[in-house]
Amino acid sequence: MALNRDYLGKAFPPGDPYEVSRVKIAEFADAIGDGNPLFRDRDAAREAGFPDVIAPPTFAIVITIASSSRAVADPGLNLNYAMVVHGEQRFEYSRPLAAGDVVTAQVTIDDIRDAGRNAMMTTRTEIRTAGGELVCTAYSTLVERGGAA
């Protein structure tokens, strides 16, 4: 039941482009209870120098999950998702994601290792615009409890 080490270094092709929308940003901000006007009010965002409403700093996880779910759900990887908890997460941004951005996300499995009784997998997701601008790199470490080889 161990994670398949053959997936180490595997890069998954970017899926369909993801369009960041004002509605989705507002839904996400509402779900985290964040009333910041930059995430809801275009005029407030423009006054702060942005082209449209911007997304909260952790919003990129929405795009990351949409892409990495193909990796996580790949039966060949052999990951038991009910045993998975999130170990670490890091984002690097060149600018905030904003409504109107159309981006693609490329997921690469950077690391698979055991830590005690658990297995750990780190993915790197690069989120780029159609023009190739790297907006965000997200590093996610998932822990599969009891999943050590």
């Binding site: 985290i32 964040d34 999130h86 690097e92």
Partner: protein, 142 residues
């Protein structure tokens, strides 16, 4: 809390306050839908307990989002988060009652960088337990 933070006013060690945020079962259901992470341990108590968890637990990303909210509220509209990273050290356990859990976030300036950037060291606790460790945000101030 809008745009009142000045880079020159901050020193290494400056405290940037504390805030508390609720996490209820409803919060988690909404976060499932908004994020697309429908892992059963965030909404199904029966399965959460069957896999050895004390109860339903919050998404780590929900907790990280509260720390992010703390940072963006503090920094104001002209600032930008350029890096944000955490380790999830302990789960936020969310009971099925009308109160849920509380996540309390605080922070201080750990380092001042060039380009009007500061490194914030953040602390997040729930039920007296540290739920985030190595939580750092780099913020570029206006």
């Amino acid at each position: 809390m809008t745009g009142r933070v000045g880079y020159d006013d901050l020193a290494v060690g400056s405290e940037i306050g504390e805030a508390s945020y609720p996490a209820t079962r409803l919060s988690l259901v909404k976060y499932c839908g908004a994020s697309g992470d429908f892992n059963v341990i965030h909404w199904n108590e029966r399965i959460a307990k069957s896999v050895g968890l004390p109860d339903v637990i919050a998404h780590g990303m929900f907790t990280m989002a509260q720390a992010g909210r703390f940072v963006t509220d503090w920094a104001g509209p002209g600032a930008m988060v350029t890096e944000f990273g955490v380790r999830f050290s302990s789960p936020v356990v969310v009971p099925d009652d009308d109160v849920g859990a509380t996540i309390t976030v605080s922070g201080q300036v750990e380092e001042k960088l060039d380009g009007n950037r500061v490194v914030l060291a953040l602390t997040a606790r729930s039920a007296s337990t540290k739920v985030l460790t190595r939580a750092r945000a780099v913020v570029r101030l206006p």
